[in-house]
Symmetry: C2
Subunit: 221 residues, 2 copies
Amino acid sequence: MTVQPEFELYSFWRTSATYRVRVALNLKGLTARERDVDLIKGEQRDPEFLKLSPMGAIPALVEPGHPAMTQSTAILEYLDEIAPEPPLLPADPRGRARVRSIAAMLAADTHPLITPRVRGYLTKEAGFDDAAWKRWQIQWFTTGLQAVEARLAAEAETGDFCHGDRVTLADICLASIPAVMKIFAIEVADIPTIDRIMARCEAIEAFAAADPYRQAGAPSR
Amino acid sequence: MTVQPEFELYSFWRTSATYRVRVALNLKGLTARERDVDLIKGEQRDPEFLKLSPMGAIPALVEPGHPAMTQSTAILEYLDEIAPEPPLLPADPRGRARVRSIAAMLAADTHPLITPRVRGYLTKEAGFDDAAWKRWQIQWFTTGLQAVEARLAAEAETGDFCHGDRVTLADICLASIPAVMKIFAIEVADIPTIDRIMARCEAIEAFAAADPYRQAGAPSR
């Protein structure tokens, strides 16, 4: 692919799912013009945005003349198909299944539990205050990361990264969790394999440049 | 593939994620010996099972001599790779992105919210009784299905099924939601496109045979 599409990425500085797409774009050498959807102001419920993303969820990746693409894992697979280098999935089906499984443990079984719409419901319907919400966040970040740690520590396929010695979708989805945990001042203990892999990822500019605090609209730390 | 692996599927009669794998196996003409993990008895927290699936989640698909595969969407992609007919993804990258996105709206943004581990937390820590849990289920089933309905009704790619006139991963993940809603006597109104597609799916034996009430261990209706 010599000329990339003129991507627009509907995004917000601090969201985990947008972070994943930013990392993949960076790794592939692709660029996207970001369009801010302020989740704190509730702009994701704007009728115009809901036409792009009926779930009111970001990211949404738009190419001129085509419907918006939503859901970070679907977007990552798409970017890997249209710009195959460097590959974000292993070559063998079992390896791909392992990478997609680790990615889903985080992007499906962990992150959807701590989104603004869930917070809104628990605040309104279950009386969650800030402390109860933080306990909820800690519960699911811990559950997800400890389960992934158990796999990474036990499975022979783990290398410098989650799967061997190259970055895959699993590393991108994994890094998207601590990237937002630090915003909420949450830490999970006893995950040495994850900590080791995260240090490797943070040293890669494609990851570092996607850091929430380096995005437009982020507060100074 | 002339000889299929001797799959074992760790499963439970009523789970949405296991249903998806059953449908895919059926569509591909593959078989798996099911091994029951009784989620009501808490067998998913058995130490032996946690070695296979550290998240304590089913399904897990096991081939002799290989680590267990977990996460339904990763398993579906794997089955589609090792047994390509009939294909469960469209041939074009944008079509695949759309199918994976619809699948993720249900398998990632909807279903993880209504799993036993979430119910356990809300019961213990937030005082949810049966009625509060049912309102929670209704909230997220409705949110997910209405968002998918909005897409299916608006987007030109929708056909007899979610994407054109062939079954894809999107239909399998979509059908996995009403398949369990009926167990909890939950209905979502005003989703005519989904209702139309579900009627098509139910007429296909690969879907009908995966119905929770047709599995070993299911109560009689």
